[in-house]
Symmetry: C2
Subunit: 131 residues, 2 copies
Amino acid sequence: MNRTEYWHQMIANRNVAALDDLLAENSVFHSPVVHKPQQGKAMVQRYLSAAFMVLLNDSFKYVREVQSGNHTILEFQLELNGIQVNGVDMIQWDDAGKITDFKVMVRPLKGMQQVQLEMAKMLERFAAQTS
Amino acid sequence: MNRTEYWHQMIANRNVAALDDLLAENSVFHSPVVHKPQQGKAMVQRYLSAAFMVLLNDSFKYVREVQSGNHTILEFQLELNGIQVNGVDMIQWDDAGKITDFKVMVRPLKGMQQVQLEMAKMLERFAAQTS
């Protein structure tokens, strides 16, 4: 199974724990909403786990996959609070098959606003659990 | 020269007129801001021409290219009104090398707001010129 197939299996199984094995120690996360990157595996895991909880509802599906070299682009589509959200996961891998860079973009503006709202709530829940 | 090289040459030369040759009659444009697609070559040409005028300033550069089959993903970066804009051109080609589908996504939220503002101004200018 190649790394993109592994990613799809993880998503299909809603297997958040598998992220632990997949992220490089020095990985970086780029949010669709905020400019500032989140640095390091712990932060990337936190943001991706929250994104899984928010985005992976029953309507979520991948609709396009473009891959070359160490880059995978996965376009997704879902409905969130009745609003259409269309986006891309932009994944950069190292040669060991770990994720070093994960960037998300979403459209349209109304979709981004819903993602922003629900991500903020989820990250607050995470913070409450660990404090 | 393959179609992606042709695209880069067009962008480097700010050659808006070349779009006319590159777009399929039934092409579709998906804005980063608005959900509703723009249908047909004339509309796609209008929106892409406006996007060229707005985005292709001296700071514009492509920073990642991922290509497979009939899909090209081009990630770009620029500064607009002092705000960082990061985005992707998601291009789908037909077998004749014409663009059938062109989707743009941008991040972060502040960047999207600048793109929205400047695109609205530019499309108004176009409308004033043709009315």
